[in-house]
Symmetry: none
């Protein structure tokens, strides 16, 4: 409902919005009683906080720990309970595969079958990525009843398979029995619209067996996590924005691509990313810039590393402010507390900087301080409407 | 959903609720770093804040700037995305026209057509309101297929037309081509249910042409903003309240009338309005009192004037408290920051005063301070349930 509203109210203006997403931003206190943000020396972010209005967001709702897909969709203003990005899709996005609406993606393991048709090794001896690439070449050009199949290497024994055609459905059972010594499971339709797709996938597996019959130990593929790609209303449709994504990690580029953002080529460092924003400033009116390593450090339980990445991000804030964005948002997609070694449900601090934000008394960028801010606690889905409003890109609702 | 709940739980008691709506209440800091509320000397409102619980509300949701219609509906507890008040209706409400559910209202311009049927002047030489009144008299008593038509003067060349009958639909195209030298556009149905209404409006226009053929320069009406009146569940049905509205501006009287409030006759000053509340205290158990001039000053970009009106409102607070309302709410319908010269999306401070509110530490009535209050940030639609609860007019949900 609100989404349609935004589409109706959004207008094109010259103002520019920058959304800086520090992945896994927030944390909880370690044994010394401080979070990563509270420990980090981040004078520029603190100063920005003092000149902004701030608050905290819930990626989904209180208590819910989101994956990267739903957390990002929410920040981009899409209801993550309505638009779903299943595992297979995330895997495809993660290798920069150019997904189209309606594509059916699934994760695959290269595996070893013995001569009795039982699984001898679910990971084909963890073959190398180089071997994986060769195997995938053997599987090029498969087409079944007008459905094209792309088999792409990910890493080690992992592949992703994308089916492209009309009427594909992802209500399918998985073929990986999760144990060795068993036969692969047949693909079964789990919903009324999936029977035809199940048949196509079954024939694909037969073709794989045939083509890989001489490729021991990788003579089979086990499938998990079927997911069909949904058409998201694009940033251009919904917000009338010329939007660009700056992300060194493929998955985030993929999520931005699903939202219709243009993907800017960029190197792997934070410096590359912020430079890229500067170079492209005049060509777009919305920038999504993704910082990955806070999340990786959190996932590794590496508190100090996460602190260090936060401090590195801090060093780019003055340069960012020199670009005079009309609206600057610094936030995260979700929390990744180092002591939990994974994503968590904790609300995420947000700074909203601009000419018309109003103000509050918060002067430190931390979980605790931002929770006292003028924005209060809002669903992450409301961040884009707030950004648009503050950039004067939304007209009035009703007379 | 919640609405049905309130209807189910509400009970009649002797307690009294006063809802003071300061139109366009909140603002953002000007060059001196303070908002209108922060600049105003409002000791009585500050003292009331100290003795109340406070917070901020979103008229629609974060980032959305509401018109007066949806902002008021929301405060009255109606979902503004469900109940819509289109342009034509607002115009009818603005002249105190007693709208009924199902009425179709549209704004009209008296215009001049040349002998070739082209529009020579879209405003009929901006004729005077006196002339307008005479023209409208010529158009009295039109009835088409059982649909009665009321043509009423607004101001200068502006009129409002209300069609009253069964099955009217507002999915109609406008007849004003927005340029001179063109013929008026035909009314076309824009939806499957509007064909019959389009026919009726077309015949109305024919009748207008005939009756005004000797009324040069006002020999035509151009139509814009068709809107059908929806039945709102009344305050009596939903809240079991005997509700009265005190508003010197017709549009707000009209909105209150749509909600089934009784409209009290009142003069144009704030003093008149607060007197009116006092005089009628024993006759009703809910009062909506509307303060217009904060919004007008904000719209004019007149920061000082808005400050002055706030200070004037402040002077009536002691008298209001002497009446011992069980629940007193002071809030706004939306923000109108003087520096934006228009409505805005910023959340609106609210004070909730009563015996059972609980307390917080806020002691100043401002955007920033109220954002720290015990109510937090809530949708404006939840204000009426809070008011009802604090007046002990809502029973328990479930056993």
């Amino acid at each position: 409902m609100t989404n349609k509203l935004i589409e109706q109210l959004s207008v094109v203006t010259d103002s520019k919005i920058a959304l800086i997403v520090i992945d896994g931003l927030s944390g909880i206190p370690d044994s010394k009683g401080k979070t990563e943000l509270e420990t980090a020396n981040i004078p520029n972010l603190d100063a920005l906080t003092a000149n902004s209005i701030c608050g905290v967001t819930d990626p989904i709702s209180p208590g819910i720990t989101p994956g990267s897909g739903p957390a990002h969709l929410s920040l981009f203003g899409y209801n993550p309970l309505e638009y779903k990005i299943g595992r297979g899709l995330l895997e495809a996005l993660g290798i920069d595969f150019p997904l189209e609406a309606g594509d059916l993606a699934v994760r695959g393991n290269l595996a070893t079958m013995d001569k009795d048709g039982k699984i001898a090794d679910r990971r084909a001896g963890r073959i190398s990525t180089e071997e994986n690439v060769k195997i995938c070449k053997l599987l090029e050009g498969i087409e079944i009843d007008g459905v094209r199949v792309f088999v792409k290497p990910v890493k080690d024994h992992r592949v992703v398979i994308v089916f492209r055609g009309k009427g594909l459905d992802d209500a399918l059972s998985e073929t990986d029995p999760q144990r060795e010594g068993l036969a692969p499971l047949p693909v079964k339709p789990l919903g009324p619209l999936a029977a035809e797709t199940a048949g196509i996938v079954t024939r694909f597996i037969e073709e794989v067996k045939k083509r890989l019959s001489n490729s021991f130990p990788a003579n089979m593929i086990l499938l998990r996590g079927f997911a069909r790609s949904q058409q998201l209303p694009s940033f251009h449709e919904r917000y009338k924005l010329r939007a660009a994504a700056i992300a060194s990690y493929p998955m985030y580029r993929g999520l931005a691509r699903l939202a219709g953002m243009e993907i800017l080529p960029v190197g792997g460092s934070l410096s590359d990313e912020f430079d890229c924003l500067k170079q492209n400033l005049n060509k777009y009116d919305f920038f999504y810039l993704h910082v990955k390593y806070t999340d990786s450090a959190g996932e590794d339980g590496n508190f100090e590393k996460k602190v260090a990445v936060l401090e590195e991000v801090d060093s780019y804030i003055p340069g960012l402010l020199e670009l005079n964005p009309d609206v600057l948002i610094v936030t995260g997609d979700h929390s990744t507390p180092a002591i939990l070694k994974g994503h968590s449900w904790h609300p995420v601090p947000i700074i909203l900087y601009g000419r018309y934000t109003g103000s509050d008394d918060v002067a430190m960028f931390s979980e605790k301080e931002c929770a006292k801010g003028g924005i209060g606690r809002i669903p992450a889905m409301q961040v884009m409407p707030l950004a648009m409003a503050n950039a004067l890109k939304l007209t009035k609702y009703g007379a």
